[in-house]
Symmetry: C2
Subunit: 337 residues, 2 copies
């Protein structure tokens, strides 16, 4: 049985949305046991809205909470009884196979890195996100775990992203691109030119530099970048999608004919929203950690939490981490020969 | 009279789209003289489609062309008779007040920096772009002139961007933000923390770190970033807008009712497209150069070129560069006291 710990206190809508999503997931995924971690009193109160409670849902008390704005390094050290640190302890003791939080991302990265360690051959963890593109899904890594990357980290991101696209998304021989300001090999700073060289000499299916616009055209399966740029890309995308939707709503309301047109197109807009909706993919895996960690958006609703739990279960079942380690071994061997 | 040189050979649709846009602008802006720079034979042939030709449109021969993929530094040195280098020569000789190209951006940056020099107090040029937001316009600088910035450059971008928002867009006391991965002062790398400090201690209306999503919410008038990140942001935005439009078109065609709804909403979609359309703003000023330089998108159509010419004329008329120099003096004085 797969066991997954969920941070009951993490996220802007916690604990309510997290509890709701967890209950939904427990009903949906009979083969998974879910451990809600957080303040027992708060979580019990939220859970009292549901009866009978699904049998595969447990509580684990964690009296402390790391707030969204707290310094990751300091809070992880000072709050060993926080939900995030307690989840990491459960994973360390092999009592759970995966942990999920919609709370303080930096604290998750620090706690998981320190508590669980990194996979063999991986020097820095990276957050990978699946973005909708014209051509299915594109995986962007890193979107914020490591904002001061070295070229080697980008190579490792390419390797880990390829494993995810192959094992989880089912893409054969996934293509890898380097986010850059132009296609030519000479583009970017020294950092990008060094990363280009490492990727090109590797056994990955590296297809060259990718400009920002290729993230949404789906020209490439995996796009690697340093965590600062990736984080900005993710948030710009979020902001732009919201702005376009808001401007559209304003336009739709301008005249009676517009309103009629909007009503006719309601199903189309709903489908479109679903295609663009990050909550469909639930959470983003924090790759490179010796353990399965998922990070959900701070504003996650119940559906996002439910989908993150399902995604984490898929990761465990597909043995993604074992595959990453096997791939790093293979890459190391090819380097020697 | 304001004189503006336009690169007749620059851009994916040159020379035709450039010639069309130039003729349109010449008819529209009687007080501006436009000098089309490029291969006389090619441009004359394109111009032969129009008669009579507007009197305020002139030709200036430049037999060489710098291609879109050529190395900026090498091509500028080797092709002194290219349209880009010839435009810079015209500006240097004070024969024109502004120059515009939809061609090789890097070559424009190098040729203008070397040929015209930088404004007093400015160490690096920056490309500023006006982006549509929920709250009017947001200016993002730099989107690709300088991909290896120092913190001081970001301060100078903030100063130049503020002048543009005040003088050209009419924003009073423009707010300035630093693009970062979080709001807290401690966020980002050393580079960002140093830039934060410089901006905070300056006389600019600095309102702190801005996450990527704030570019489109319009929370801030001017957002500064290094040219690598800015370029990625710009191209991600472009790609995302195209992808959303494409996905919408697919949805609209799915059923008869959807098609009917789409027809009713056609005017709304047109208005929306106009709001999101970068060609409405024409070109992006290359700020910091001792001369007015505008860079248009490589895929510029006639309308984009026409609007870029109008925007450049506005810059000249509003004496933006003189205001930037005055602002740097003022900032230097405040530093002394």
């Amino acid at each position: 049985m797969i066991r997954i710990a969920v941070d009951g206190m993490g996220g802007d809508r916690a604990p309510r949305a997290v509890v709701d999503g967890t209950v939904q997931a427990a009903h949906l995924l009979n083969e998974v046991e879910i451990i809600l971690v957080g303040r027992k009193d708060r979580l019990s109160k939220e859970l009292s809205r549901f009866h009978p409670l699904p049998k595969n849902l447990k509580l684990h008390d964690a009296p402390e909470v790391i707030g969204m704005g707290e310094s990751p390094a300091i809070s992880v050290r000072r709050k060993p009884d926080s939900s995030i640190c307690q989840m990491v302890e459960l994973a360390k003791a092999k009592q759970v196979n995966a942990i999920i939080s919609a709370g303080n991302t930096g604290a998750m990265v620090v706690a998981a890195s320190l508590g669980l360690g990194l996979l063999e051959g991986i020097e820095r963890p990276g957050i990978a996100i699946l973005l909708p593109s014209l051509n299915g899904l594109t995986l962007l890594i890193d979107v914020g775990a490591n904002i001061d990357s070295k070229p080697e980290h980008l190579l490792q991101y390419g390797l880990m992203g390829s494993v995810v696209m192959r094992r989880v998304v089912g893409r054969k021989n996934p293509s890898v691109g380097l986010l850059n300001v132009g296609e030519e090999e000479s583009k970017g700073t020294d950092f990008h030119r060094q990363a280009f060289k490492l990727l090109e000499e590797s056994s990955l299916n590296f297809i060259g530099n990718m400009e920002g616009r290729e993230i949404y055209t789906g020209k490439c399966d995996v796009i690697v970048c340093d965590g600062f740029v990736g984080n900005v890309v993710l948030k710009v995308s979020e902001g732009m999608a919201l702005a376009i939707r808001e401007l559209q709503v304003r336009e739709m309301k301008r005249t009676l004919l517009n309103k009629l047109g909007a009503v006719l197109l309601l199903p189309a807009f709903k489908r479109l929203k679903k295609q663009m909706d990050y909550t469909e993919y639930g959470g983003a895996p924090l790759l490179g950690i010796d353990g399965v960690c998922f990070i959900s958006h701070g504003s996650s609703n119940a559906k996002a939490i439910r989908n993150a739990i399902r995604a984490a279960a898929t990761f465990v079942a597909h043995e993604v981490n074992q595959q990453i380690v096997a791939a790093t071994h293979q890459m190391a061997r090819q380097k020697v020969h």
